[in-house]
């Protein structure tokens, strides 16, 4: 292929400047504390609790979004209904909305005196200011990732394949599981990974709805901000580094799953 040199040079320079250099700075920063100091920061109960919440809530939210996102994408691709264009455009709103606005709006809805919260409160269910609120916020911001990755693949998926399966005697469930799902699997996993990655690092929208109770509803990015507030850059970078590592491992696993599912698909 012609143009390899400039393309490669551009890619490396761009990746270096935009991704690698900042990440290297992040990974190098904490060690002024010494290995022991870094361990003390990241193994404190409060940091561990926040990491559990951040990753746990992000995984739950991404999982929910895969289901919801697939349903929305299916609806948008397979059916015609009035105002379809508008609904389609609405899917992108969580991308466009400043996250703080999203957080405030969700909190207003789910607070015990809010539109939705007031009906949940008598049932003893509280969403805002609990870990459940964190999940709700993360579902909101993650949905477009799944819809937008699945939608084009679904559009390319020929309905004749499904018709063929039906004529061969497969029921709806079998057709979905054996014909549709394998074709969508790589896209679903990509959507899952994107929604998850976005959710782990989310700060703006979560901070309003979480309630930020130590050990209960504090997300890890908040503890990074807390460290920065006391001018402890190294400790902040230490927590950041752990989040980076954990995210990297999880994304790697998702990538491997994706390759596996593609191979399975080809067979």
């Amino acid at each position: 292929m012609p143009g390899f040199g400039p393309a490669m040079g551009f890619t490396l320079a761009y990746m270096g400047a935009v991704i690698l250099i900042p990440l290297a700075a992040l990974v190098l920063r904490p060690w002024t504390l010494g290995a022991e100091g870094v361990w003390d920061v990241v193994s404190s109960p409060r940091v561990l609790a926040s990491l559990r919440l951040s990753f746990g809530a992000a995984l739950i939210a991404a999982t929910v979004n895969v289901g919801l996102g697939l349903a929305v994408a299916w609806m948008l691709v397979r059916y015609d209904f009035p105002l379809k264009r508008i609904v389609d455009a609405m899917v992108d709103l969580p991308f466009a909305l400043p996250t703080a606005v999203a957080g405030l709006a969700l909190t207003a809805l789910y607070a015990p005196n809010g539109w939705i919260g007031q009906f949940l409160a008598p049932l003893g269910i509280q969403i805002a200011f609990t870990p459940a609120g964190v999940v709700v916020a993360l579902i909101f911001i993650g949905l477009p990732f799944v819809v937008r990755t699945v939608q084009p693949v679904l559009q390319d998926l020929n309905p004749e394949l499904e018709e063929a399966a039906v004529t061969l005697g497969a029921g709806r469930a079998v057709t979905f599981r054996r014909v549709v799902l394998p074709a969508l699997m790589p896209a679903l996993l990509t959507g899952y990974a994107l929604a998850f990655a976005r959710a782990v690092g989310e700060y703006g929208s979560v901070i309003f709805i979480a309630g930020n109770m130590p050990m209960v509803s504090e997300i890890a990015p908040l503890l990074i901000v807390v460290q920065l507030e006391q001018y402890d850059y190294a400790a902040a970078a230490a927590i950041g580094m752990v989040m980076l590592l954990a995210s990297f491992v999880l994304l790697l696993i998702i990538n491997l799953l994706q390759r596996y599912s593609r191979r399975w698909d080809e067979r």
Binding site: V41, R46, T107, N113, V226, Q230, Y231, D232
Partner: protein
């Protein structure tokens, strides 16, 4: 085609570079930047035009005062990282001190360069309660009763809440005659009564007023009265406790920047202006801060009753010490706030 496409793609890049790269005006200081804390936006929007007119009257020069507002620790970090602030007007002594300690941007004796520890106005943590004060909350020890819900932001992220923490702590210290165990139990009980920790003062106000959560909001007295004025004096009541903590609002010229920009004179004049009766009047009348000017102070004393104020220096041995012992990682605050 490809050429056109690439040109099309290059356009936003060029536009982006232009916006990012537009140089800040240097040399001739026809504008100064006041970097300030979050909730002072309206305050300085009211004061700046008065200064601009005053400066024009005195020197014949046109000057513009630009404002930047965010949490004051974040603002201090931005300045350390290169934000070209001519003056800072913060709500925490430590955030000015760090500009000296980490960047030598502010003179070591900055607190002596302006009157009253370089604090042209001050306030204190006070209470905002709902109409009729149904839980009869009058003082700090009412707040630790069972079933009282207290709202204030997270002291780890909010300077406002650090004052609340110190006020409650020093109240308990006096009450229990310096018994540390009892004092800490008191403060821990206070934390246990907080259902939501917002990251900043305005967030806590929203939780209390818009979300309807909590029996009492603890925030700066100035904010208590401003919120009451804005959201209905018939719906909320302001409570001044028996004793509170002196919250200074320190100002400083950022010498490191002002020298380079040649803006020292106007920067100093701007901060001096905050002590002038005109500005003090605005601070007291419209924003409910307590001010140093005695005539102004007397004129607007009505909503701001006399109160004994404890100083950080007296109760905690100074900002350095309280930061180290209470607010640093693993300090007393973490001990009381982390374990729930």
């Amino acid at each position: 085609m490809t050429k056109r496409l690439s040109r099309l793609l290059a356009l936003p890049l060029i536009a982006g570079a232009l916006t990012l790269g537009s140089p800040a005006k240097a040399a001739e200081p026809d504008a100064i930047l006041n970097v300030s804390y979050d909730i002072a936006r309206e305050l300085f929007a009211a004061i700046n035009p008065l200064f601009v007119a005053d400066w024009k009257h005195k020197t014949g020069q046109d000057i513009e005062v630009k404002q930047s507002h965010a949490g004051s620790s974040r603002q201090a970090r931005s300045i350390l990282e290169g934000l070209q602030a001519d003056v800072v007007t913060f709500n925490q002594v430590t955030d000015v001190q760090i500009l000296h300690d980490k960047g030598k941007l502010v003179a070591g004796d900055w607190q002596q360069r302006f009157p009253n520890n370089a604090s042209p106005y001050y306030s204190l943590p006070a209470f905002l309660v709902r109409k009729g004060n149904p839980k009869a909350l009058k003082d700090w020890d009412d707040l630790v009763r069972d079933g009282v819900e207290v709202i204030f932001p997270n002291p780890k992220t909010s300077g406002n809440a650090r004052y609340t923490y110190m006020a409650a702590y020093s109240f308990a210290q006096e009450k229990f005659g310096g018994d540390t165990a009892k004092t800490e139990a008191f403060v821990k009980k206070l934390f246990d009564n907080v259902p939501v920790f917002d990251t900043g003062g305005r967030g806590a106000t929203t939780t209390f007023i818009e979300r309807g959560i909590g029996d009492v909001l603890i925030t700066f007295e100035s904010e208590v009265h401003a919120m009451r004025k804005q959201h209905g004096e018939d719906k909320y009541e302001a409570i001044t406790p028996s004793v509170s903590l002196l919250a200074e609002f320190p100002v400083a010229v950022v010498d490191g920047v002002a020298e380079k920009r040649g803006s020292q004179k106007v920067a100093k004049a701007y901060l001096d202006f905050l002590y002038a009766p005109v500005a003090q009047e605005v601070l007291a009348r419209d924003f409910f801060y307590r001010v140093q000017d005695e005539t102004v102070s007397k004129k607007y004393a009505a909503p701001l009753p006399a109160i004994r104020l404890i100083k950080v220096e007296d109760a905690f041995g100074g900002w350095d010490k309280v930061t180290q012992e209470h607010f640093a990682s693993g300090g007393t605050l973490d001990k009381l706030f982390g374990q729930r």
